[in-house]
């Protein structure tokens, strides 16, 4: 008996917790938080046990029939990728839900919060465990709904309500394409099961580009890749814990996971890899530039998340034989830790300051040491400071892209974009850290204080992983998570490559520049906006390349305008035509009625009326007096006599 046989409990436990909290949460402490935390902790323990099982015994699958007659099934598939995702998701969820004890302590709607978190965790784990694309899609949509509900958690805020809507709709575009891809695969192969599909792949690889790209389109929506990245910055309207859990560590990784999961399809369509890499590269660079001009502490982190997700896509796009798969998933894991850490630390700051605006912060280091230091660790990690986890994974990503460039020169460009992104990342992260923690407090209207233990302990645990998780690559990770054959990279080997030194230089350069500008003050920030050209660039970044405006234009003028037009069309033209026909019919009815009355009846009536009128006239002659009749008779006789005389009958 092995632990994987109980893996079906992993998504079910949070679902049960959801039901318990949703119905009885009000009667429990902290709105049912203990139930949610206990459930998540149990899933974490189970996930660890499952991981050991998988390391020992390899992959595991179980399934049952679902929609009769279609061959669609419900089942669990666990391989190394799943096991990794399980650990990442359950661990971060556990940290976040513990952290929420402090962060959400004063919120009146805690029950709803914990219920929705439990639902999300269950759905996310279901997504990861699914053994076929359809089941994955189902949970994919469910996490989308949870994301929708949690972004709109403070639904009274119009911004939150509209951000929730935006998130749902933008990802929905990707989802629809994803579903199309699924339908195509289903019709082509008659199954959606990963293992069966992989098996069938060997026989028929024609016409796979389109379904592969449609699957990727789903990932683009979910993982906020260009051009569907616009929802993620707005999603920061939700509670910070939600941003950390859903919009940094787990749900947005679902897209990356999907691409990794579809590798067995993608490997047959090299063009798809290139497109994924290009989209990833563009997203990474573009989002990094937009992060430069943010003053909202969560805004910086949101763009940073988009940028890092782009990095993962870039790595996955490097292809199987360049170890992009390993590098991308490695970055996914590390990013989950350090980005969750950064968000939670930012949440701690927001908790203390009561605002997201970095211009009001500054000098917080002396008040909140734990937050400050853990956030510094997170920043160093994401900036690629040597030996932090982000350093290793970023380096692996860049080196896999470099490997891929041996086949296709475009990857050189992408490599350059990756290096620039690394530089920019280091810069904006340290801009954030310096603006928040160093110098003097710019707005004195509040009194910062360190957050409670429930919040700082998860921060410290995450900080340990953010700093140290990178070494796992050399101790098992690369032999566990790979596609095709495992890479064999050693630390010594890494430092023999000039690319490693380049990425170190990029990271340190970014940190150094930020130090000069925002700590030492040797370079004034206004240098960046000196001159019309630079101002224009800054404006463009502040306007986020006008992407929102373009989409709003399409949505408002295009779709909504079209719908208004259709509505008018429906009411005036279609209904008008119908009403026209009916009024035509009525008109015709009236006309025939008139004809009936005027002509046909007229003839009959005229006849009767004529005789009636004649009768009436004659009736007047008939006085009823005998003498009148007599006089008439006499007149008649006289007339006759006259007539006879005139005609000569009587002479």
């Amino acid at each position: 008996m092995t632990w994987v046989e109980f893996s079906y409990l992993i998504p079910i436990i949070p679902f049960i917790a959801f039901l318990i909290v949703a119905f009885f949460g009000n009667k429990m402490k902290e709105g049912g938080a203990p139930v949610t935390i206990a459930a998540v902790a149990t899933t974490f323990v189970l996930s660890v046990l499952v991981l050991f099982d998988v390391i020992e015994n390899g992959s595991y699958e179980t399934s049952m029939n679902w929609i009769a007659g279609t061959g669609l099934e419900v089942g669990i598939y666990i391989d190394s990728l799943t096991a990794l995702m399980l650990i990442v998701v359950t661990f971060v969820s556990l940290m976040v839900s513990i952290y929420s004890l402090g962060y959400m302590h004063d919120d009146p709607c805690k029950r709803r919060y914990y219920a929705e978190i439990a639902l999300f965790v269950g759905s996310m784990l279901g997504l990861v465990l699914a053994n076929n694309f359809l089941l994955m899609f189902i949970f994919w949509e469910l996490v989308g709904v949870c994301s929708y509900l949690l972004i709109g958690f403070w639904y009274q805020k119009p911004a939150a309500a509209s951000a929730a809507k935006k998130a749902f709709l933008v990802t929905r575009i990707g989802d629809v394409l994803f579903l199309t891809g699924i339908a195509m695969l289903y019709v082509k192969f008659g199954t959606l099961n990963f293992v069966e599909l992989e098996h069938l792949m060997g026989h028929d690889v024609q016409g796979l580009l389109l379904p592969a790209l449609l699957l990727f389109a789903g990932a683009v929506g979910k993982s906020a890749q260009f051009p569907l990245h616009v929802w993620l910055p707005n999603a920061m309207e939700g509670p910070t814990t939600v941003s950390a859990l859903i919009h940094a560590a787990t749900m947005v990784k679902a897209g990356v996971y999907l691409v990794a999961r579809s590798y067995f399809i993608l490997e047959h369509v090299p063009d798809a890899f290139l497109i994924i890499a290009i989209i990833g590269g563009i997203t990474a660079l573009m989002a990094a530039t937009m992060a430069l001009v943010q003053y909202d502490i969560k805004g910086v982190l949101a763009y940073s998340t988009i940028s890092q997700l782009g990095y993962m896509m870039l790595a996955l796009g490097a292809g199987a034989h360049a170890f992009g798969y390993t590098a991308g998933m490695f970055h996914l894991m590390n990013h989950a830790f350090f980005k969750a850490l950064l968000f939670l630390a930012a949440g701690s700051v927001i908790h203390a300051v009561g605002s997201n605006d970095m211009r009001k912060m500054g000098g917080l280091h002396k008040h909140m040491k734990i937050t400050s230091i853990t956030m510094l660790i997170g920043s160093l990690s994401i900036a690629g400071f040597p030996f932090m986890s982000g350093f290793f994974s970023k380096d692996e990503v860049l080196s896999s892209v470099w490997h891929a460039a041996a086949d296709n020169n475009i990857y050189y460009v992408l490599y350059a974009m990756g290096v620039i992104t690394a530089f920019l990342t280091a810069f904006y992260m340290f801009r954030l850290w310096y603006m928040t923690f160093s110098g003097e407090q710019r707005d004195k209207s509040y009194h910062p204080h360190e957050s409670p233990k429930t919040m700082t302990i998860p921060l410290m645990l995450l900080a340990i992983l953010a700093a140290g998780a990178g070494f796992s690559f050399f101790f098992g990770f690369q032999d566990f998570i790979y596609f095709g054959h495992a890479p064999h990279v050693t630390i010594v080997h890494m430092f023999e490559m000039w690319q490693t030194w380049l990425s170190i230089a990029a990271g340190l350069g970014g940190i150094g520049l930020a130090t000069l500008v925002y700590y030492k003050g040797t370079i004034s920030p206004s240098t960046f906006t000196a001159g019309p050209g630079r101002r224009a660039v800054r404006h463009m970044l502040e306007m986020k390349y006008w992407m929102d405006e373009i989409y709003m234009g399409i949505a408002e003028k295009g779709v909504y305008g079209l719908s208004l037009l259709m509505d008018k069309f429906d009411r005036n033209v279609v209904d008008g035509a119908i009403n026209g026909i009916s009024s035509g019919g009525i008109g015709l009815g009236h006309a025939s009625n008139e004809f009936d009355k005027g002509v046909i009846d007229g003839a009959v009536n005229g006849l009767s009326k004529g005789s009636f009128k004649g009768g009436k006239a004659l009736w007047n002659l008939q006085s009823g007096r005998v003498q009148d009749y007599a006089s008439m008779m006499i007149l008649g006789v006289c007339g006759l006599i006259v007539l006879m005389m005139l005609t000569g009958v009587i002479s």
Partner: protein, 493 residues
């Protein structure tokens, strides 16, 4: 004597007849609803019984056949198969739920509940009869009570809506009747005897000439398209819904629209396979246009009920699209969609009724922040909306997926066009949710309370169906698949 030997269908059909008369002629007006509820629960029990005795894949069952007017081949023939069983169940389920939901009706209660039972008679009759003559009688019988329903208990433009409803559907029926007569005479010349029996006609009708089948199919399609309704003969629907009382809307959208789909499968495709194969593109075009057009118009609506009415047009487009695919998954998906749309749309119209009742308005811009005052209602509304936009885990998704898979088999990549509906569908529902549920409560709406018990019970039952069938559609699909196979019998040859 076993239960299955009893004339179960006739009993199911007769009970609401007796109920109608009893309710009409009872003395105490206030007890009308109780009596009506009892008389509508019995058919529900009967249909559950029939379902439990139903042999999956056994073709027509519980058949009763008695000659009626022998000289022109009219008989009383009723039976049920996998296509009509879900429809029968849907009818018998929604009628008692509507009665419960309309518990506080004050105006002319006897007539209200009596007419509801009368509608039930017609609907059950349509779904069980296997004789064209009988079928047509019941088909028309449904119209009359619905006409009065809208005309008496309707909103401000009720007379316009009632007449429009009547004329539209009646024109559709007449053209359908024309096709039925064509089938009758044509089959008489082949069979050697005249009969209105559907099964007898179905044995010979697939052998008719392609030209005849095409023409008859188009005529039938017109009649059914009006009922479903398909663009451009749909405009009676929004008007009828906007004016009809909630119970009327529930029955209208929940079951009456399904008569069109039912007829399409039972008569159109089954009897005239060559016609269907020739004009599948008409169905596809009607379906796709209806889906996108209806969804787009939803975006522009300010009246909640009108929006839901248009969304029905959009969702019934799925049925047409599924039917047009002429393959097993598509047709089964279309049938499933009829059932699941019946459930979901009933929830939506009931919720719409609740909101109108509590706040006094259905104007989306005037409603705001209802979640604070009506948490239960909002919860159910969210579930209804999510089910309607095809969220996985709810019944709407299963059917939409099946329709799309079927359509993909038939049209390959062109299904991207109807798929747009899913995105637009999400857009109008999510946007509406944002506008009416979120934000601060609009104080002008006054004192708004949450669901009453008699409103909660039917809604809760329907929600259970939505989620259960979303996760476990097999009980229904097991019944539907053999029926879909039978429908496609002539096409697949």
């Amino acid at each position: 004597m076993a239960i299955a030997d009893l004339p179960l269908l006739t009993i199911t059909l007769l009970i609401p007849v007796i109920g109608t008369l009893a309710v009409f002629f009872m003395k105490n007006e206030d007890n009308a609803k109780k009596l009506a509820l009892i008389f509508s629960l019995i058919p529900l029990g009967m249909s559950i019984l029939i379902w439990s005795l139903f042999e999956i894949g056994g073709g027509y069952q519980f058949m009763e056949s008695h000659t009626w007017i022998e000289s022109i081949g009219i008989s009383y023939t009723v039976a049920i198969d996998g296509l009509s069983l879900p429809m029968l169940f849907l009818t018998t389920l929604l009628i008692p739920l509507s009665i419960v939901f309309a518990w506080d009706t004050k105006k002319r209660q006897k007539e209200f509940f009596g007419l509801l039972l009368m509608i039930e008679v017609g609907l059950i009759g349509v779904f069980v009869s296997l004789d064209f003559f009988l079928f047509y009688i019941f088909w028309e019988l449904v119209l009359i009570p619905m006409y009065f329903f809208i005309g008496i208990w309707g909103g401000p433009r009720k007379h316009y809506a009632a007449i429009k409803f009547f004329i539209f559907t009646h024109v559709g029926s007449v053209i359908m009747l024309l096709a039925i007569f064509a089938l009758y005479f044509e089959s008489a010349s082949v069979l050697g005897y005249a009969t209105f029996n559907m099964m007898d006609i179905a044995t010979v009708s697939p052998t008719f000439t392609a030209a005849f089948q095409g023409a008859a199919f188009l005529a039938l399609l017109f009649g059914f398209a009006v009922k479903m309704p398909a663009v451009p003969v749909h405009t009676w629907l929004p008007d009828a819904h906007v004016e009809a009382p909630t119970a009327g809307s529930v029955i209208l959208a929940g079951v009456m629209l399904k008569m069109g789909g039912y007829g399409l499968f039972r008569v159109g495709i089954t009897m005239l396979p060559e016609g269907a194969m020739e004009y599948y593109w008409v169905m596809a075009a009607l379906g796709v246009v209806g889906m996108i057009y209806g969804a787009l118009i939803c975006l522009a609506q300010v009246d909640l009920k009108k929006m839901i009415a248009y969304s029905s047009i959009s969702h019934m487009g799925f049925v047409l699209l599924g039917a047009s695919a002429l393959n097993l998954v598509g047709v089964a998906g279309g049938i499933y969609q009829m059932f699941s749309h019946g459930i979901v749309t009933a929830v939506l119209f009931m919720m719409c009724g609740v909101i109108h009742h509590k706040t006094g308005t259905r104007d989306i811009p005037k409603l705001q922040g209802l979640i604070t005052k009506m948490p239960q209602a909002s919860f159910i509304l969210i579930i209804g909306f999510l089910a309607s936009l095809g969220l996985p885990g709810m019944n709407g998704f299963v059917s939409e997926l099946m329709v799309f898979v079927g359509a993909y088999e038939a049209y390959s990549i062109f299904i991207v066009v109807p798929l747009i509906t899913l995105a637009i569908g999400a857009a109008y529902y999510i946007w509406t949710m944002q506008r009416i549920l979120m934000g601060d409560f609009n104080e002008k709406l006054g004192n708004v309370t949450d669901l009453e018990k008699y409103e909660l019970i039917p809604l809760a039952i329907l929600v259970v169906f939505i989620i259960f069938l979303g996760f476990y559609p097999n009980p229904l699909l097991d019944v539907i698949y053999p029926a879909a196979e039978a429908v496609l019998g002539g096409v697949l040859l």
